[in-house]
């Protein structure tokens, strides 16, 4: 993506590279630097495709680019660009539903059909939504990068809002897949931005909520926090959530919404806050921690 500036082309090239790898590595064994091999192969496929399609616009300076030689590249040369990808998917110039779909597609690894089902829209609608969003990234020149310092705070808020939106869509067992995808993106974010209290706070919030998923519904009825069967709580998620919270504490001295809301509510084992009992999703999401 960083090399090509074109989401769709990058995606297709990556798919080609994986297909080739699956076949070739099975036959000839794995190369020493697997990631580098995949990236080099993908770039070459993309260059081949561009040349074949003869789209000779000024943007495609890549036509001059020499083909990558596999041996020259090492894994260390290729940075993990997931952070750039997340910020690109959640760029404010894209509509919210496009940001959600792109994030799930690019980072969550869900396919178009799964995303469509999770949001109760026809697959064709979701496919079009994704295509339009990717075209906009290319045509309007949405940059593939981590936003510069003066834009970063607002952009990070937007990213976290999308992740939380996805998590809430999956809440209450409507789509455990969405909830776990949101957590997966949250984990990636926490790896990539380990000093951001809001990132850790959101991860903690999602883990602590999700830990109680099994206990939340009984016979189709919502169960209040105080009445939940605690043996159904996922201990490892609770531990992970608390760990994220603890990591964020030193950085959270300046406050921050997700982190504060997580900290204010005591750990699930000894709940002090009582949920109101209202069935609205929003209240359950906030009260339940």
């Amino acid at each position: 993506m960083g090399f090509l500036g074109d989401f769709e082309l990058a995606e297709e090239a990556a798919q080609d590279a994986f297909a080739i790898a699956a076949e070739r590595w099975a036959r000839a064994g794995m190369p020493a630097n697997q990631r580098a091999w995949l990236v080099a192969t993908a770039r070459n496929r993309a260059i081949d495709r561009i040349r074949r399609e003869r789209t000779l616009t000024a943007k495609y300076k890549l036509l001059e680019a020499p083909k990558a030689v596999h041996d020259e590249f090492h894994d260390a040369d290729f940075r993990d660009e997931r952070l750039e990808l997340i910020f690109t998917c959640c760029h404010p110039a894209l509509a919210t539903d496009a940001q959600v779909a792109l994030t799930l597609r690019a980072l969550g690894g869900m396919n178009t059909d799964e995303i469509a089902r999770a949001f109760l829209v026809p697959e064709k609608t979701m496919a079009q939504r994704l295509v339009r969003a990717k075209r906009k990234i290319k045509d309007a020149g949405i940059p593939f990068r981590i936003p510069p310092a003066h834009l970063l705070p607002d952009r990070l808020v937007a990213v976290l809002a999308i992740v939380y939106l996805i998590f809430n869509e999956g809440y209450d067992g409507r789509s455990p897949l969405l909830a776990s995808e949101a957590i997966r993106v949250g984990v990636a974010l926490a790896e990539l931005m380990p000093d951001e209290p809001e990132v850790l706070g959101l991860l903690a919030l999602m883990l602590l909520h999700d830990a109680r998923r099994e206990a939340r519904v009984h016979d189709g009825e919502l169960v209040l926090l105080a009445d939940q069967d605690r043996s159904l709580w996922d201990r490892s998620q609770i531990a992970a959530g608390r760990a994220a919270l603890a990591r964020g504490m030193p950085c959270a001295a300046l406050g921050g919404r997700a982190h504060t809301s997580c900290r204010q509510r005591s750990p699930p084992c000894t709940p002090r806050s009582r949920p109101t009992g209202r069935r609205s999703r929003r209240s359950t999401a906030i009260c339940r921690v």
Binding site: T57, A58, K59, H91, A93, D139, A140, G141, I142, P143, P147, L151
Partner: protein, 113 residues
Amino acid sequence: MQYLLQIYSEGDTQFDNLSADQRAAVTGEYMAISESPQVTGGAQLQPAATATTVRVQDGRTLTTDGPFAETKEALGGYYLIEADDLDAAIELAARVPAARLGGAVEVRPLVER
């Protein structure tokens, strides 16, 4: 990349409500933007009431009094700019006074030929 910045405002009401000094300052801002190196063209348009809309049907030229779309917000001016990416274009658009005086700026990339 090249972008067209189309400047929309609701008549001139917010602008008119400013003091003479403030209006002069706003005009100065527009001029300063035109003088940025990124800006390759631009102009202020006369009010929508001065517009004429042209269509051709069966070889005949049809004209209508007024702008293409009769909306509350009217196109008041434009800038043609060069920018590395959308973020840079947005940053420039945000400097346009109309954006903070109740109007809006549409940022649209040109087709590159």
